[in-house]
Amino acid sequence: MTYDVSIWAIAIFITFVALVLALSFYFARKTKSASGYYAAGGKIHWGVNGIAFAGDYLSAASFLGICGMIAFSGYDGFLYSIGYLAGWVVALFIVAEPLKRLGKYTFTDALDARFNSKSIKLAASGSTLIVSVFYLIPQMVGAGDLVVPLLGLPHWIGVVIVGSIVIFIVATAGMTSTTYVQFIKGALLIIFSTILTIYILNNGLNLKPGGNYHKFVSVGVVFEDGNLAGTTDPSYTLKDIHTLDGGLTFASLERDGIVNWYKLSPDSTFLEEMLSATVADDGTKLYNGEPKSAGKFYQVGHLTKIVVDGEEVEETGPLGPFKFLSTLENTEIARFTRKEIKAARTTVWYQEPTPGSDMIKPGLLYKISAKAGANFWTKLNFVSLMLALFFGTSALPHILIRYYTVPSQSAARKSTIVAIAAIGFFYILTMYMGLGAAINGVLDVESSNMSGPLLAKYFGVGLFSLISAIAFATVLGTVAGLIVASSGAIAHDFLDKYLNRKMDDRQKVRAGKMAAFGVGIFAILLGILFKGMNVSFLVGLAFAVAASANLPAILFLLFWDKTTAKGIAWSIVTGIVSSVGIILLSPTMYEKYGLDKALAPIPLDNPGIISIPLAVIVLVVVSLITQKDNVNKVENYHLDS
């Protein structure tokens, strides 16, 4: 897709970044102690912290990823919204207060409070670093994706800009400025998503999504001896025919010197125009038969039928939030499905008419019904995803460290409730933003991540610029939080606590800042390296690793007296190795390696259903074997304290 760069977008973006930097300068002068750097001195108000939680949590995966997934696969994208929010229930009811009581600056502190064990420090700081880095990669990739349409710059410059600004923020001020950046960003994201949803509902359902929407043509066909031989319109010349497994037939036709791809209709009476991307013999990429700059690679996604009270209509006018969903159920939506024609070095996206009722129930992406071809493994994959989402949230280090920025347990609890309310409200909006993008002709079939911002552009460049700048700040804030968590793992958990380097408060802050700088540079390199990789895939990976490595350790520490230091350490290691191992051997990764995905040894993309129980079993077995170690544990940090 090619995008026009807007002066508005640039102006708003620069203003936003300047605001963030000014805030950092302001708080930099106040941060002198280690407690200030890692935990904002434990003085943040619970209301501010709650919205900052929302800012931390609503990362590129939520705003860009979920909206995009709903736009392309309907309700299955919303499963992520449900799971991500449900994860907060675990955080609120189980983790928030005890963790606040146990820890000082980091998640490792809390785990280690009862044991003072070297093996826990090493395993927990390692898992913090690994989960944070997995989480960092998609944020950086997402930042690069955003900068392309927003500022017209190459992807790698976007990554470098984000990396540099964040290193600056974190290395100057730490958790205080990170918190306020997240607070502002979280609040703005929710406000402008609400405005966008009001636009969507006010616009209602419409068969014509705007003046410039491309009308896809159909051409009649001629068969000779049972074979496709040409078209009924003599201005088209048949060039090439391919029939793929599954019986879909695609043909390329030339007209006025331009070759375009078409799909044969199910009744074999006409060819229907598609979107296509072809790699030409000289290596250049042609979009719909022309270079990208010709602008022929259209934004898509539209309604083909709207039925209201039993009658077909062209448009509905403004609709309420519930009426919008019930009316959408009686529509037909043209979704664009991707297929590779390897022999022609072409990727095509053809129209697939989908009943609106299928868009608002699960099943388009996750095959769970027999009708959609479900089997044991596809169903297990669905359960595994829901499990990892549920248990992943309260095991994410950059979320956990936020509990140390508030003054008391009750403030930790209240800030979690503010977070749940804000995040829950936002996730309900994702349903409308995703469906709105699906039907208003704004989808970029090459980048589902841009669905939300491009929908905003449909309603006006001003709204697009603001939403994009906020989305960019979303990435900025989340990356800052992750880098603070990573620098805490290196400087506080590893150098200070594990290696026992003697450092005064000033040196501790210096070590934290240097670690932040190192992790930041590493993140920039990974962001450039992983360009083009699916953002939500990597975030899912981080959730699964966090749920497997950290959550069994936290829960057993809090609720099972026989838990030992070695049990915790081995459970963390098992969780990391098994979850990352299963992902590396999954069908999706096999496809990325260029291998046949049917050869993958474990036909699961989501590892939680295996790796979480495995980590629990290891924790229980090792703890029971090493009971004698518990004689020396520090008893005063017990639940009843």
């Binding site: 434990g42 003085k43 359960v383």
Partner: protein
């Protein structure tokens, strides 16, 4: 060993609050599991109208989100009451 970043007063209500938290967690877990089980064993049921013209997927999905918020408020109210009573001081 080190203490928390901010000084925390003794919390006599901690054990009772933890117990309530665990109960509420299991209540939510059961309701969340119900959603997963329906998706698994009777996915077509997700398309059935259950409330006005809304299907089960929308009602259950939105319901899970709203329920989390409502349970959060209930939990907070109960915890604040326990803290006030057992720690013998006004709410923070």
């Amino acid at each position: 060993m080190h203490g928390p970043a901010a000084k925390l007063g003794a919390d006599n209500a901690a054990a009772k609050k933890a117990k309530l938290g665990v109960i509420l967690f299991f209540v939510y877990l059961i309701i969340y599991s119900g959603f997963v089980v329906i998706g698994l064993y009777d996915p077509d049921l997700m398309g059935a109208h259950v409330l006005g013209k809304q299907n089960l997927a929308i009602v259950y999905g939105f319901g899970l989100i709203i329920l989390a918020v409502v349970m959060g408020f209930i939990y907070n109210a109960a915890c604040t009451r326990m803290e006030n009573k057992m720690n013998n001081k006004q709410g923070r």
